[in-house]
């Protein structure tokens, strides 16, 4: 497998519109990045970029809160440890998901189910919104790590926190997040899904499922978006 990035700068700056995937998109556009690959290279890079773009906006508030509770000398290490733990989880998820995606696309092509595929994905994502396992994971996302311990232990605790956060975020977000990908939809759909997931976290209340309806509604909206 080989992987490389060829960049041709055309000038201009990547503009931040407050969303990770837009940043990534603008960055890649501005620099006319071309990714060439063989084997798993391209899907691995795509997956990594997609996770970073969609999920970093969601965990950014957690990182800000964590940073304020860590000794200055350890802040960088601890934040990197959280991100590393978080991305490890998502990279591990990416491998089987990639295989599933291949099988899924092959099945779609074999049975000519191009119109049914998005329907199935989004129906699953909508159904998942109401699953108690998802709600429990969403609750756990709000719990910060206990950071007591010798100074060297803080970074380790932060890494464990990243793993836990990655696991819980995956349980909460994965179906809605991958539905646009499986449905072959444009970037804007991922942008909308990211913000719906973020809004759900901010607005969630006990015994009130209105914020989850935001995610469900966006998934319903996804049914109307044609593939690229």
């Amino acid at each position: 497998m080989t992987l490389g990035v060829a960049a041709h700068q055309t000038g201009g700056l990547a503009i931040c519109f407050g969303s990770g995937q837009l940043i990534a998109h603008k960055f890649l556009s501005a620099f006319r990045a071309e990714i060439y690959y063989t084997g798993f290279g391209r899907p691995a890079v795509e997956w990594f970029l997609m996770v970073a773009a969609m999920m970093l906006p969601i965990i950014a508030p957690h990182l800000v809160l964590l940073r304020a509770r860590i000794f200055r000398s350890q802040q960088t290490k601890a934040i990197l440890a959280v991100i590393a733990g978080y991305m490890v989880v998502w990279c591990l998820i990416g491998v089987p998901l990639y295989l599933i995606l291949i099988a899924f696309r092959a099945s779609v092509a074999l049975f000519d189910a191009h119109s049914i595929a998005p329907l199935l994905m989004y129906l699953f994502a909508i159904g998942w919104v109401w699953m108690p396992q998802r709600q429990r994971a969403l609750n756990r996302c709000h719990r910060p790590p206990v950071l007591a311990g010798p100074t060297g232990q803080i970074v380790q605790t932060a890494g464990h926190y990243g793993l836990r956060l990655g696991r819980d975020c995956a349980v909460v977000c994965l179906p809605a997040m991958v539905a646009p990908m499986f449905a072959g939809q444009p970037l804007v759909m991922m942008f909308i899904v990211t913000h719906a997931l973020l809004a759900e976290r901010i607005l969630q209340q006990p015994h009130n499922n209105r914020p989850s309806w935001i995610v469900a509604f966006v998934c319903m909206l996804g049914l109307a978006i044609p593939p690229v």
């Binding site: 304020a68 509770r69 719990r143 206990v146 311990g149």
Partner: protein
Amino acid sequence: MSTRIRQSVYNLPSGDETLLWYGRAVADMRSRALSDPTSWWYMGAVHGNPNLNPPAGANQFWEQCQHQSWYFLPWHRGYLAAFEAMVSKAVAALGGPADWALPYWNYSEDLAQNPEARFLPPAFRDQTLPDGSDNPLFAPRVQAPGGDIGLGDGDVALDALDEDEFTPAVSFETGFGGPRTGFSHFGSANGQLERVPHNVVHVRINGWMADPRTAAFDPIFWLHHCNIDRLWEEWRAADSSHTNPDESAWLSGVTFDMHDGDGTAFTFTAGDMVDTTQILHGYRYDTIPTPSPVVVAAGRGVPEMVAREPELAGSSQAPVSLEDDLTSVRVQMQSEGVRRSFTESAFPTPVNVYLRLEEVTGKGVPADYEVLVDLEDDDEPPYPVGRLSTFGIAGASDTSKSHGGTGITEVYNITRAAERLRLTVESTPKLRVSFRKIEQRPVSKLEMPGPVPVQLPDTEASSIQVGRIGIYFD
């Protein structure tokens, strides 16, 4: 209808029937079905639900109380107004006055003026009335001969009124009214008024009042919160600089659901709660002569963030269980990597020094703790810096709730203590933080009369753990 006047329960005129009608209305509301939004049971569960099965549609209204949040005061104001409307309607239907208003219990009143101020009001003390019937205003509470529930000076102190800001811009300060949050049933840091006297009085009364899931089933709850609501008005009236937040996040960021006196659903925001004369029937307090200003400061926008956020300078080495009457913990200072101004010398370089108790979790109905700091090798007595109240700790520790069992966070500005202790980066390895348990008297046992059994959620032994103790400088 004219604006109602809420009066001190100890200043009600001789022969006044406010509490008599309150008791009758309580009994009437208890006779209503759980599914009735104006029933005692439904309204109690709006604050917290111990073990009741929610009727259809109730989830939107139950377990909505706001704590450890800048919504603490406005949410409870709306809750009180709705309750007052329900009681008032019941009173009128029973033949009482049409302008019934909720009295408040001013336990912070000067003892020279009212020696009984800290005692439970007489109408709430006895289990039975003179005629032998059940007293509807009685509830399981601390055993209190003569009404003395053991409130001390520190329990009813009004230091919160000295706070300059409702919610300060610095994230660690919780101010008078509590920290910025979204919807917060539990799980953040207490504002100063919420910590003392609100939380402390809850735990001192004990019984149902000690747990938010049962607190609103005790009739004294409403007089206690009426006083807290009054103190909010008093704080605002005390100084023109005492203003409510003018940020849109506070004014309209979260919408709350409630039922009015007719049982009709309505919604409100914190911004709807700034003028007491405009809330449902409208009310004001007898000790605050003029209605509070309605207008919030215009043009201030989002408060400017202070450039220097507090920085962690010391931390405990492991979570601490508060099992004994006195638990002491050494806080280790990290001298490397902190800002130069800290290491170069020391006090009084930092503007403020904070003690932060993080992830305080637990279960049961525990006591409160007095928090003290001192240096291990000096002869000075420990310096008290505040209370650690465990009110609501079980709910805040429940991992099945939306906050994920985060627990409670308490922040104390210990700058004065640091001054006295000559706290420096070099000396903080010797800093000791202690938790002294405040003795609790036993609770009287009582089954609530009525169709719905309400029990204390936790009767097992309590346990409290402090996840981390942090010292922060700014």
